[in-house]
């Protein structure tokens, strides 16, 4: 391919040569981010509430402490306390081969295991690691958000006869959600960028495309500048959506 130089030095042709990888990578990055944000938020909500679980009387009281609060706390501590990169590698090279293995997979074995591992192995590991990681950080956002709601709100709702679940659903969570939107938005943006780490286990997303081109040509400006611009565009878009959400749900809050 004839070198196409922009500004006299940027070899746009090597990007064009691998354009298919970049477009596929973009789709993969966007897809993985969306899926992991949604799953991570759901997980974060459950774990955040689990961290606050309590009961009035024994034995529910002890059950809450040892079977709900402790596991939740340990999970959050581990996934916030270890590097995401390590989690991704662990998931792909240690955990998943244990669970999905044609020879002796604990969860899935045989030919299905082979198919899954070959076609979706890196995707499964990546999504799992990112979801668990996001869930831990988001659970703290939910926990803090729920705890920031004045106790009087819960007292008023419970005094009316509403159950714990109804109180959460109608009174506490809607208010907490408003407050949590800014940090949740930040988390979503962080996740978008963190997804680049999954390229290390061979998932063909945006960073993987850049690595490939850099590996082939030993040139770094072109591929990495390209994906930097693409990531930047994506985060700007995400930040815009978060701002719209904050606007929409921002009315009515007294505090």
């Amino acid at each position: 391919m004839e070198p196409v130089l922009w500004f006299g030095w940027f070899r746009a042709d090597i990007i064009a040569e691998y354009s298919e990888l970049f477009w596929r990578g973009l789709a993969m990055t966007v897809g993985v981010t969306i899926v992991c944000i949604l799953q991570g938020s759901l997980l974060g909500l459950l774990v955040g509430m689990a961290r606050l679980a309590d009961a009035r009387h024994a034995p529910a009281r002890q059950l809450c402490r040892f079977l709900v609060r402790w596991p939740a706390t340990i999970y959050v501590s581990f996934f916030r306390g270890t590097p995401l990169f390590v989690q991704i590698l662990l998931m792909h090279f240690a955990v998943l081969p244990l669970l999905i293995n044609p020879v002796d997979g604990l969860l899935i074995a045989g030919d299905t295991a082979r198919e899954i591992k070959q076609d979706y192995g890196a995707l499964v590991s990546g999504v799992l690691a990112l979801t668990l990681n996001a869930g831990a950080y988001i659970s703290e956002i939910f926990r803090a958000g729920i705890q920031s709601i004045d106790r009087g709100q819960t007292e008023a709702a419970r005094s009316l006869g509403l159950s714990y679940r109804q109180t959460m659903y109608h009174v506490v969570l809607p208010q907490a959600f408003r407050r949590m939107l800014p940090p949740l938005g930040n988390n979503a943006i962080a996740l978008l960028k963190d997804s680049s780490l999954v390229s290390a286990v061979g998932l063909a997303e945006l960073a993987y495309a850049a690595r490939t081109v850099a590996g082939a040509y030993s040139r770094y400006w072109e591929p990495y500048l390209t994906i930097a611009v693409m990531y930047w565009t994506l985060t700007l878009g995400l930040a815009y959506m978060v701002r719209r959400l904050e606007h929409r749900y921002g009315r009515g809050d007294t505090r």
Binding site: L160, H170, G252, D253
Partner: protein
């Protein structure tokens, strides 16, 4: 015992601090009982024990014969019979006035949206805040908010209403409108327990007044007697400080 509320040897401890030291009292049907006393006397804690917002360290509270703090009791169901009004209103800021009132009846009493709204609007007329039904709580004055809070509690058609210093957070010019609503309720025969500093209200409306100090009921009786001729010295000292000269 056909008393609406029955309190037996109730004690409440927060850590090493004993807040209620053996309370014995009863509230009859349609009776209006006002609880007065200095701050820290345990008035609010006693009130909050009546609907289970506070656990009892020992002793019993019975509401219509049902033990409030018994694990076997369905507390949510019991609470639908008891309405509570808080010092800081505790209206739901993300819902309109109407939505605040219709939430519990629609969810718990299985009313249709229309039925719930009708009931809410009737109550809003009653408390005089109908024209603000689509506003949000932060657009209302304190007095209006508290009246909405009363309507919200009434929407569940409780048999007992508890008031925890309902006018203490209000500017003086709005106290009257809230007390007026409470007086209407009393006239209609609602069983009420009111923790308050409004001595005038207690004198006019209460059937019985309880004076509490340091976790105990020091003296109780009809307002004419307790305010005019208090028996205990502590009651006299408190009233001397609190009643206008």
């Amino acid at each position: 015992m056909d008393a609406a509320i029955h309190v037996e040897a109730l004690t409440k401890r927060f850590g090493s601090l004993e807040v209620l030291r053996g309370i014995n009292c009863a509230v009859g049907e349609s009776e209006v009982v006002c609880v007065i006393g200095p701050s820290g006397s345990g008035k609010s804690t006693l009130l909050r024990c009546l609907n289970g917002l506070e656990e009892a360290t020992s002793g019993r509270v019975l509401v219509h014969g049902v033990p409030v703090h018994d694990p076997a009791t369905n507390l949510n169901a019991l609470r639908t019979e008891i309405g509570m009004v808080f010092q800081r209103f505790n209206l739901f800021p993300h819902k309109t006035v109407l939505q605040n009132i219709t939430l519990a009846p629609a969810t718990l009493r299985n009313l249709s949206a229309a039925q719930a709204r009708d009931r809410a609007e009737a109550l809003l007329h009653k408390v005089g805040v109908f024209d603000k039904r689509d506003a949000y709580p932060n657009q209302l004055s304190g007095g209006q908010q508290q009246r909405v809070a009363i309507a919200r509690a009434l929407a569940m058609q409780p048999r007992i209403m508890l008031f925890d210093e309902p006018t203490s957070s209000l500017d003086p010019e709005m106290v009257g409108e809230v007390l007026a609503v409470m007086q209407t309720l009393a006239d209609e025969g609602m069983t009420m327990v009111v923790v308050t500093h409004e001595m005038g209200f207690a004198r006019r409306v209460a059937d019985r007044v309880l004076f509490m100090d340091e976790g105990r009921i020091v003296e109780e009786g009809a307002p004419e007697i307790l305010f005019e001729r208090p028996a205990a010295e502590r009651t006299q000292r408190f009233l001397a400080k609190v009643l206008p000269a």
